[in-house]
Amino acid sequence: MWSALRAELLKLRKRPALWVLLAVLVGVQVLFGYVFVYVFLGLETEAPDVRVYQLLDRLMPQEFVTSALGDLAGMGAALAIILGVLVVGSEYRWNTLKTIATQGPPRPALAAGKLGSLAAAMFVFTVAYLLTALVCSSIVASLEGEPVVLPSAGIIAGGLGAGWLVLSAWATFGALLAVALRGTGLAIGLGLLYALVLEELLLAALFPWSETIDRVLHAVLPGSNANALVQHLGVPPGPPASPLSALTVATVMLGYLVLFSLGAGLIFHRRDIA
């Protein structure tokens, strides 16, 4: 399994798509999370109200973890799905699965190598995202003449763990779609459709009928749990709509990570490599 993981990591490291997605993630964060907000705040200096100070507080280093996580659960999820699909689905598009499979590694090891490399990539994404937020917030602090005060180590570790868990769960969701659909195009489309539209639609459609169903769905659906997890760490608008505790929500996300991984692995193991 380790040799498959090492090979997958080499493949991923040399793949331009990985770095493009990371650049998009970080670039959007810098522009929309800090540059545009800071410029907007600068234009409001004549009569600053409480909202402006609150926004400025969110740009400070003490808030960098929660600021970053808010975006990571939204746009990060979309990029994680795309990467998950690409890592697995491109093998079908390029027909390279047969090339690897005939070299001898067992299919479970191949699947584990792929999912392991995705998890590693999501860790890199999370670290890069948090580091970018730290750098941007430190720049804002120095521009405002404020001291650089960091959040506690516990919050940073929690943010890192939550960010990784959310991204990894969505990435394995993408991998599952790619294996099931044996390709990239449809899998990316359906993955994004679910994460960005369908879950919200489902919640909006069922909420008026039953509050109980709404609570159950919030407690069960991956997107709701991803949002709830980061809201438990202080991401606005908190508190989360989910009635579950932070630990339970994290467990649900971990469950999704395991479920999607097992699903992808099982289909990969059982299906013919056409």
Partner: protein
């Protein structure tokens, strides 16, 4: 002789289509075995089953004493199935190094096989810039990476120019010497004729005939040229087992069991006939192939 690949009633069905139908195949260690058949005959599906890429619907197979797809077997074989597939954003060398990592082979081995298929000069170019012929060579290099006991090649000369085809055939022959076995799948009869020791003809998923190339090409007809021709004709006509004697272009053509040809030669010499030529008439593999596959259609 040790059989390195065996199948027993191996079958694969895709919905209503029976791609491979109770196929019995046996490949001996150390031979270059050609799997011949028209397009859609089930050759590639058979290879895919032998490599564990697709699971048979029925029947059994053993490859290197292991079930198809088992790591014990795959670790000792190299394969190129259909068109070679590689990661386009990686160089040829990186693709091979990647495969070496999967198998635990030393990275140095990638350079050795690149040299063997004469691709060293372009080893650092990205695969997406390779011609089909270069990708084909890289595919063979990948198949040779583990220095395998068994090499499975599916249409290995596809996309190569005539020189490349000749070089590939020479490479296959050189690989298939000694204890190493090559299973070559092709619909190019000339290629099979030039490279294979034994051939299995498959049509509509079924094994039609499996025999050494020489045996397949043997027509059972012999040419006898000798002087005086009249004496030669008389001896031949009287010889037990000879039939259908004809004079064609100043020589005799006759039908006889191959194992009696030595006795006929002795009888001719005893009768004072000076024998210039005594050989079996060989059919082309193409005519044998057409005959076998047309029989199936009938």
């Amino acid at each position: 002789m040790e059989q390195i690949i065996t199948t027993h009633k191996l079958s694969k069905r895709y919905g209503d289509v029976l791609a491979v139908d109770e196929l019995d195949l046996a490949v001996n260690r150390g031979e270059v075995y050609g799997l011949l058949g028209p397009n859609g005959a089930g050759k590639t599906t058979t290879l895919r089953m032998l490599l564990g890429l697709v699971r048979p619907t029925a029947g059994t197979a053993k490859v290197l004493n292991a079930p198809p797809g088992a790591q014990a077997g795959l670790a000792r074989l190299g394969a190129l199935v259909e068109e070679p597939a590689f990661y386009p954003y990686l160089s040829g060398r990186d693709n091979l190094r990647l495969l070496a990592r999967y198998t635990g082979v030393s990275l140095q081995r990638a350079d050795e096989v690149l040299e063997r298929v004469e691709l060293t000069a372009r080893a650092d170019s990205k695969v997406k810039t390779y011609s089909l012929g270069m990708r084909q060579r890289l595919g063979v290099a990948a198949a040779l990476l583990k220095d395998p006991e068994l090499l499975v090649l599916d249409e290995p000369t596809s996309g190569l120019d005539p020189r490349g085809m000749a070089e590939m055939r020479a490479l296959i022959r050189s690989v298939g010497t000694g204890e190493r076995t090559v299973l070559l799948c092709s619909h190019l009869l000339g290629e099979v004729e030039q490279t294979c020791d034994r051939v299995g003809v498959i049509d509509e998923g079924r094994m039609v005939r499996q025999a050494p190339v020489a045996e397949l090409r043997a027509s059972g007809r012999f040419v006898v040229a000798g002087e005086p021709l009249e004496d030669a004709e008389r001896v031949c006509r009287q010889f037990p087992g000879v039939s259908d004697v004809e004079i064609v272009g100043g020589r005799l053509e006759l039908t006889l069991d191959a194992d009696k040809i030595g006795d006929l030669n002795a009888a001719l010499q005893q009768a004072g006939v000076r024998v210039h030529e005594l050989r079996q008439l060989e059919r082309s593999l193409e005519s044998v192939f057409l005959e076998l596959t047309e029989e199936e259609e009938d």
